[in-house]
Structures are given as C-alpha cells and as structure tokens.
Amino acid sequence: MYQTDQYEGMLAETVMYPGHQGQLINAYFARPLGAGPFPGLVVIHHLPGWDEWYRETTRKFAHHGYLAFSPNLYYRDGHGAPEDVAAKVRAAGGVADDQVMGDVAGALDYLRSLPYCSGKVGVFGTCSGGRHAFLAACRVKGFAAAVDCWGGRVVMSKDELTPKQPVAPVDYIADLSCPLLGIFGEEDQSPTPEQVDLLEQALKQHGKSYEFHRYPNAGHGFFYHNRANYRQAQAVDGWEKLFAFLARYLKNA
C-alpha cells in the first residue's frame, strides 16, 4: 500500500525486444524507479488491441510495484491507430496461438534478464488476452502466477478450432505450472458461466491451485471504465482481489 511520505517514480516507454522466433517487436514497459528488485508482469492486451486502456493498466501495475511489460501482439500486422490495426487482425481471425506464446516467452525472458527484476514474473490478460494468459501459464515455463480475466474460448468445442487456434487451451491444463486467478462476469457470453464451470471442474480434476471469482450483474469486460459494460463495484472488488493474488505469489512468496 502506498504511503504518502514514500518516494515514488515511474518510467513508462516503448521498447523493442525479441518475441516469437527472435523477431523484434515493440512493447510498452512501465516500471517503478529504483534498484528493486521488483516482480514482473507480462500484460497481454485484448482483442481491441494495444490500446489506451492497456497503456493505463500497464502503468497501474507499475504503480503497484511491478515491472509491467505489454507486448504489441499485432506488431507484424502494420502500424496505425490501435483500432485500425486491431480491426485488421479481427478480420484475419486473430493472431496464431503459437506466435503469441513466442512473444510472451520472449517477454518473460526479457523481464528476468533485468538486474532490477526479482525473478518472480506473472502473466495477466483480459478477453483474448485472458485466454492467452491461461495458455501461457500452461505452455510457457517460468511464470509464478497467472490472471485470466474473462478469457473466452479457453473451453472450445472441436468445431471452434482453427489453424491459428488448433488446440483448446483447457486441453493443456495438465501442464498448468502456476496458481491461476480467474475473474468472470456471470452475464458474459464468452466465456459463458457454463464454460467457466467446465474450466473449474478441469482445474479440480488436475489438482491445480486456482481462485475464481464470479460477479453477478456483470458481463464481459466489466473493468473497462471507458465502455458501457463497466461495473464499478464489481471492478473495484475485482482489482482488490487481483492485487492481493499477485502480491501473494509474486511479492510475498
């Protein structure tokens, strides 16, 4: 908790780093000033792209003491206004899971190489980024905590699989290698409450460490204060639970 007599400083900037297959892509990196050591967090943006909400959220994590690193998953799709780039990716059926995992693994390596990183790194995402966060917690070794906020298509039927998403993330659940926090709205259409229940059943069956919070009167993306689906009370509580979870596994562990 921030104290009013505490020194506080932050550096937030875009950087280049090697992502999938060593390809250089950019990322927004916000970090507290000081020698640290600070825990890290890979912040995976949502379908609407590498947008202002993700900039704000990346800085929010830095304010709470994390080296927050948000890769531009759409870097290879051209540059322009975030909405225009995201619209192009949306039309193309998204980005391939393998490519995202490569970019996330590169981000983890980047953070852990920094002299002011404690070595404890988590992964966070919302919407498609929540799905990617879950997938990364299974497929990329080295994360100490994962946060999936309303990630749809974690549980997928066979007819939903695509060349870019060839395997349902839940099918990797045996490989989940860190505690998972799930935050969901009970009125969400993707994931539906039934899909969240299926994911929870799978976590139980495999004896995984997890913590799920389901919020009534909330749908998809209820943290997004710039959207009509924002739900103030649920969002405030969700953020509190989220920061408590991250502190437990990244700061106090």
């Binding site: 379908l47 609407p48 949306r90 749908g219 998809h220």
Partner: protein, 90 residues
C-alpha cells in the same frame, strides 16, 4: 478474439475515410467486439484497402436488427435497380 466470426470479401468501390476518398478493395465482416458501439458484440463492417495500410478503413458497427435491415435494404435496392434496367454490368 472472442467469437472469431469473420469473413472477408473482395470488393470494388470508393470510401471516404479520415483523409478523404480512397479506393476500396476489401470488406471485412465480423460479429465480434465493437470498438465504439456500447454492446458486447456487434456486426462490424470494415471497408478497407489493405495495400494502403490499416488506416485506410471506413468502419461501421451495427446491432443485429440494424445489420439484418441493412442487408435486406441493399438487396431490395439492387432488385429495384435490376427491374428498372439500371444495373451497370461489365
């Protein structure tokens, strides 16, 4: 990418974007998260020219009823044009 419902068609036309008119080459139709319409999902149409970069885009986001009404109205207008002998076919 919460629905992944997207289609792309090749088109020929003109669209007016933020910097003026440009040639349209593709239309991207999706039923997924909109950027601006206050809804979880919408029927999104992006008229684009991929060769000109992501910014060459004319975007609309419609609720389901509006999208269906638009599709029906387009077909009706074309039917009337055809009936009247106005269609210009190469």
């Amino acid at each position: 990418m919460c629905t992944m419902i997207a289609q792309q068609i090749e088109i020929n036309g003109s669209g007016k974007g933020t910097t003026g008119w440009f040639t349209l080459r593709q239309a991207n139709i999706s039923y997924d998260h909109p950027f601006n319409l206050p809804a979880e999902h919408a029927l999104n149409i992006d008229f684009v020219n991929e060769a000109l970069g992501p910014g060459a885009r004319v975007a609309v986001e419609l609720d389901e009823r509006s999208a269906r009404a638009l599709a029906a109205a387009i077909l009706e207008a074309l039917a009337q044009a055809e009936h009247g002998g106005y269609l210009e076919r190469p």
